[in-house]
């Protein structure tokens, strides 16, 4: 018994450390080089040029992907145009079946996709496994079901597809953004040319394999990898009838300007600076989870991130205490570790942007708080950060940081909360935390944001339309509304 007692005393002093729990990566292969997916095959890029994609957690090269030039983009758009003739004439239920196949294949290869997504982009495996990949499969499943029901979607309309859609997607949710773009386009009867972000092309390459496995008719989906240049070639190509872009507001404006007078249809999903509003009667521990989820999920690389916390002054103190304590339990590290909460910043460029804005916050007089956090040696990392004593005029309260940085401001009354929340050129999302139902609806009515989350945050579903007001863009993705941009309804 004495031995047990002594051991107990020793053990009682120890802290519960979690041993490494690495996700297995040995059940599939990332190829050393990838071509372009055009006309149903992987083809060599015209210029033969390739560029590397790295793992931002280790800075190690994962593979080389092709750089599509004007000739490649032209081939892709023409392939999509040829495919459109037969694809749009297929019976709608046939189109549905191809899409159901794709959805099921994503489910079947879910783990491979999740690991590739994590390695290529830096997000924790827990997120790619439990959020990104399942939602991607769900988007294809949902829209597959619309393909043969379009006559029910819009009263008194017989919708027709547009033709070739040119789609540009960002690096923060690579496969999910691909699903948000391709699924509705295909359901509506269009064909697509999609350009993944330059730092995260790999899950799109696996998706190309899935299209081939599904025996999708050649040219219905084409994927051209490259950087900004490739993107502008896709946007500008005369064979493209519709453009869909998700990315920064800055580039969105460039695209909108470049398409003036072209007759092309356009949807934009751009940046945001969402207000997450916490009232004094909110369930506090759950509000803390919502705040944390709102800005630290995916390292804050989320257009609809709750990057401004507006807390009612009467509970600011207890809320901040809980929030700071909660930050200290966030685990930052190897994205492939199943217990990691905060992964790597997507690229050196993004890291520098975050650092610059955080420095500006300090300079302008906000108070910085970061929990103790060991950052790994190699790779791009930024600890979860929050700023208090922030004024509306500070850069950190106005500009999108796109990183794990929260700015905290206070308010006194609901009207003031609305005013501060709306005081931005952005309008993508907003959060409201209160126990009172009527107040939720009152706030929702007044917030100028395309998505209002009440007592939750960062919830996505294929049935739920998503998109912004003002400079956060126009057009909606998800739900019935997500079909409209891809249809000719005159």
């Amino acid at each position: 018994m004495a031995i047990t007692k002594k051991r107990s005393a020793e053990l009682a002093k120890q802290v519960f450390e979690y041993a490494p729990a690495p996700e297995a990566i040995d059940h599939f292969r990332i190829q050393p080089r990838y071509g372009l997916f055009i006309g149903g095959h992987m083809v060599e890029p015209h210029s033969k040029k390739r560029f590397p994609t790295i793992n931002p957690a280790t800075e190690k090269k994962l593979a080389e992907v092709s750089e599509a030039d004007a000739v490649d983009v032209d081939r892709a758009v023409k392939a999509a145009g040829r495919a459109f003739d037969s694809w749009s004439r297929l019976s709608p239920s046939r189109r549905a079946r191809y899409m159901f196949r794709i959805s099921r294949l994503i489910q079947e290869r879910a783990r491979e996709l999740a690991v590739v997504e994590t390695m290529d982009g830096g997000k924790p495996i827990k997120e790619s496994r439990d959020v990104d990949i399942p939602l991607s499969a769900a988007h294809f499943f949902y829209y597959a079901g619309w393909a043969d029901k379009l006559e029910w979607a819009f009263p008194n309309r017989r919708p027709r597809p547009l033709g070739v859609a040119g789609q540009i997607i960002p690096w923060n949710f690579p496969l999910l953004m691909l699903a948000w773009k391709i699924a509705p386009a295909l359901a509506a009867g269009n064909t697509v040319v999609l350009k993944p972000a330059e730092t995260t092309p790999l899950s799109a390459m696996v998706f190309a394999e899935i299209c081939m496995q599904a025996e999708l008719p050649p040219g219905v989906v084409n994927i051209v990898t490259g950087a900004g240049k490739t993107g502008s070639l896709v946007v500008a190509h005369p064979g493209v009838r519709k453009v869909a872009f998700t990315g920064s507001t800055e580039v969105g404006k460039l695209i909108q300007r470049s398409l003036a007078g072209s007759g092309k249809k356009l949807t934009l999903e751009l940046g945001g600076k969402a207000a997450n509003i916490v009232f004094e009667d909110a369930p506090l521990d759950q509000a803390v989870e919502g705040i944390v989820n709102g800005i630290y999920f995916n390292q804050g690389h989320v257009c609809c991130a709750g990057s401004r916390l507006l807390v009612q002054e009467s509970i600011a103190e207890p809320l901040m205490e809980k929030l700071k304590r909660r930050l200290s339990t966030l685990r930052l590290g190897d994205p492939l570790d199943k217990n990691t909460d905060i992964g790597a910043i997507n690229s050196r460029a993004q890291l520098e942007k975050i650092q610059e804005l955080v420095e500006s916050g300090v300079e302008e007089g906000a108070e910085l708080y970061q929990p103790e956090c060991r950052l790994p040696g190699r790779g791009f990392w930024f600890p979860p950060t929050l700023f208090t004593n922030v004024s509306q005029s500070y850069r950190i309260a106005r500009e999108e940081i796109f990183g794990p940085v929260l700015s905290v401001l206070t308010f006194r009354t609901p009207a003031e909360a609305v005013e501060k929340a709306n005081n931005t050129p952005y309008g993508l999302s907003a959060g409201v935390w209160t126990d009172k139902g009527s107040r939720i609806l009152w706030m929702a009515q007044r917030l100028r944001a395309g998505v209002v989350w009440a007592n939750t945050f960062n919830r996505f579903d294929p049935t739920s339309p998503f998109g912004g007001y003002k400079e956060s863009g126009f057009g909606r993705e998800g739900g019935v509304h997500g079909l409209a941009p891809y249809l000719d309804m005159d």
Binding site: A144, A415, R439, L441, W442
Partner: protein, 268 residues
Amino acid sequence: MDVRKTYKLFVNGEFVRSESGRAYRPDGNVNVPRGSRKDLRDAVRAARTAFPAWASRTAMNRGQILYRAAEMLDSRAAQFAELLGGSAKARRELDQAVETLVWYAGWTDKLPQVAGTVNPVAGPYFNFTIPEPTGVVGIVAPEEPSLAGLVRRLAPALCGGNVVVALAPESRPLPALTLAEVFATSDFPAGVVNVLSGQHRELLPWLAAHMDVNAIDVAGCTADEVKATEAAAADNVKRVIKGTPDEASPYLITAFMEMKTVWHPIGV
């Protein structure tokens, strides 16, 4: 030399013989269970027990399960084509049944978007109407087509979140009883779908008068049977559904649903 199959009823996720032990031979050769009122009673009980959990599954989950039923049915295409007579027409009927399941699988997560509404009432209230499943649905399968006819009534009922007690076609029950094997392997929770074979004159009056059945689909009833059913249904205000077997429409789903309207004030 074949190991011949014994055909059984499908109740509460299990294949069982009729508690009455009786059988009949609609084609003169194969013994088919002659379901009794007690089998029906057990099936309704199983369905009622299964209803809350099935209705509260997410729409996507129900859609995936219906799609799985399509996968399972399609993988048995050859078996069913033979059961239905082996002709090209039989094969077409099987394909139609698969297509019906796929089509309705895609409606589960869209129906509220088409059939539900947000109502702009004249006051500071948020007001919405959503469709909800009615509950336990009895289905009298049409005699012809003996597979696709039943599927065309089952699929919309299940799509909406209802649970089903189906009476197989009396003269050609084998495809319906085999269809139960498809449901048994499609991740449906026990009790959500129940299939009974037997004679209408024995089973239908009990189904029509059952106080714990919320709706009854009379696609397989004669005019006299419809009249008798409508009269009996009045005892618990049962909904009597007359689905048109050839049409495919979300309104065939809403026929099995209730509309719930909710009000909530909008105020600070």
